[in-house]
Amino acid sequence: MKQYERVMGEGNMAGKKKTGTLQIPTAPLRPGDKPHFDSWEFEPGDLSRPDPANCTASQTNEHAFGLVRVLDFGGNASGDWNPELSANELREGLEHMVRMRVFDERMMKMQRTGKLSFYMRSFGEEAVAIAQTMALENQDWVFPTYRQPGAQFVRGRDMVSMICHCIGNEEDNIKGRQMPVHYTYKEGRFISVSSPVGTQFSQSIGVAMASQYKGLDECCITWIGDGSSATGDYHYALNFASVFKPPVILNIVNNQWAISTHSSVASGNPTFAARGLAYNIPSFRVDGNDFLALYSVTKWARERALSGSGATHIEVLTYRAGAHSSSDDPSRYRPKDEQDAWPGGDPIERLVQHLIRIEEWSEDRQKELEERVDGEVMAAYKEAIKYGDLANGPYPSADAIFTEVYEEVPWHLKEQWDEMKRFGGD
């Protein structure tokens, strides 16, 4: 018997039939449609830079519904948010971004030949981790998702060890335990990536509270995706941040997509930034392909964090230019070349354009840089595969299944370990 038939028969409570049914949103454009985005109303200079220590949430109302920009589309930097970086700093940022992109391309190639099981690129979003981490101090904690590996370059991680992780060889510092791109790099205070999305967002509050408890000059930065902001952890993070005011920087990277799901299914609010206002946390929407704007807002947020005023909530507005991962084929769910229509363009091209505009760079130097980095990546790759790769081994010892589950191996694991060895697990 169907339940609601019974209900409807009972007590004459059922309403009358009316037209209409569920209202299910979907992506505005699908394969076959012509890629298109509304152009942005906000220009560099439109939004003020409030005092970070004393800023209230409502003072950022315009920032949450607007868009903080520094670079215009002609490559000029302007406005209160211009961080006035030196050319060297800009070139450093550019180099990291180029490195990230080249690295990603190399890894994708290796993935296709079976040397990695899986890969995820930062393509189109390289500025996010790199500009934001550069705006911090080295003692600050970085709590990334799989789309912020770039922070490791900023913190000086050796590329060989990154590749060794991805190809799951003997030298993988996490011993083949997690999938590629699930980096851990404690020396650089880059906290371990884990697959369940969102969890790091709420955990970051505890990281920041610990720093604050100890009275150290440290903050924690973390990110979450547009899709993942629907998890409970997003709410926990914002809410605990509103209550305890820890030194934390909470970023939503709105790259428009969560695998095949458009951001309009992630939230009914056209700006993710504005959600932070509801928690009484100053909130900004930032052009995520504008290196300078990202840098600047992050620096502001750090200053605020360390003043004791608590969290900043930042929507990083960008576009996932590539597939979700090596397992994904976006041509099944979005228009081809949609990334070319993105109003924010490409973060690397925009920084190059700026550097050229201020006469600190040239096409030739860019080409040179790309070649140099390509060589670096190739060299690192060659070094890394010496220790094995997923297709050919050698892998981390299977013993690593049993170690570091606990600080010490308990008896039942010891028995199982012996059992495994009997069957050739080394």
Partner: protein, 336 residues
Amino acid sequence: MAEMNMVEAVNSALDNMLEKDEDVLFFGEDAGYFGGVFRTSDGLQEKFGRHRVFDTPLSEGGIAAIAFGMGINGLRPIAEIQFADYIFPAYDQIVNEIAKVRHRSGGEYWCPLTIRTPAGGGIRGGHHHSQSPESQFTHTAGLKIVYSSTPYNAKGLLISAIECNDPVIVFEPKRCYRGPFYGDPHNVPTWKSHPEAEVPESHYRVPIGEARMAMEGKSCTVISWGAMVHVSEQAIKDSGISCDLIDLQTLIPWDRDAIVKSIEKTGRCVIVHEAPKTSGFGAEMAASIQERCFYHLEAPIERVTGWDAPFPHTTEWDYMPSPARIADAIKKTMEE
């Protein structure tokens, strides 16, 4: 009849039920337009409309919660959890709410929902795309738990789950979506010509609560579910020992009669699952079987399982029960 792989069989079950009963809705992350990351709902949104088959926000807790609400208000929701590893944000809704609502309300409300989710290892998924968390739901009264292993039972069990007036969690071994898995990662067969890939296109049921005798023998009873059924089959062949192979199919309520009968015949029992050993569902089965069949058992019940460690990425073949380990356990029971 048609030859289907497991993805097609699941799709066919959803298709049949969406067709048959307008109270049936299907939803989940990437499950609508895209048809699911494993393509199990491919084409269904187009066929039935966005109000029947749709994408949700990335929120397993919310997905379970709306399924609860729809269920008590007369619908038969089917919620997909993209990977079983991501079911845990919904754990509170499932074990404290969905499982208990019929009972707590004195039978006034109930929740005929289905949660289906790809589970298990063998696809290089590491910690969080490989877990097989079925036992973590078996301790909660009010839930029914099934675990399919072939195209035929994937469809038939899913239909039974959807039609069931109790909440049912359906685990599907993702490693077997496109072919059975015999424990050798280098041997990647498809379902082509497999007898269990002969699947009616129309509606049929595989009853909840009944095990399937996958192979018949006489010396030892091997019990398994999910992908491990096929690995066990291989192991039995390798061992050269004549065994009953029981594909459990339903974990709650499990088919004790079938198992007791087999063990009374064989006197020996090996349980195989890929989830970790400690408090895996093999523990419950072994505990129950020794209670019931104490005087028939000629050797201790062996469990061959995943290790008590997070599921690894590169070394997954050292983690999952292999034909060699299973065959060894069968032989061990024979030596006692």
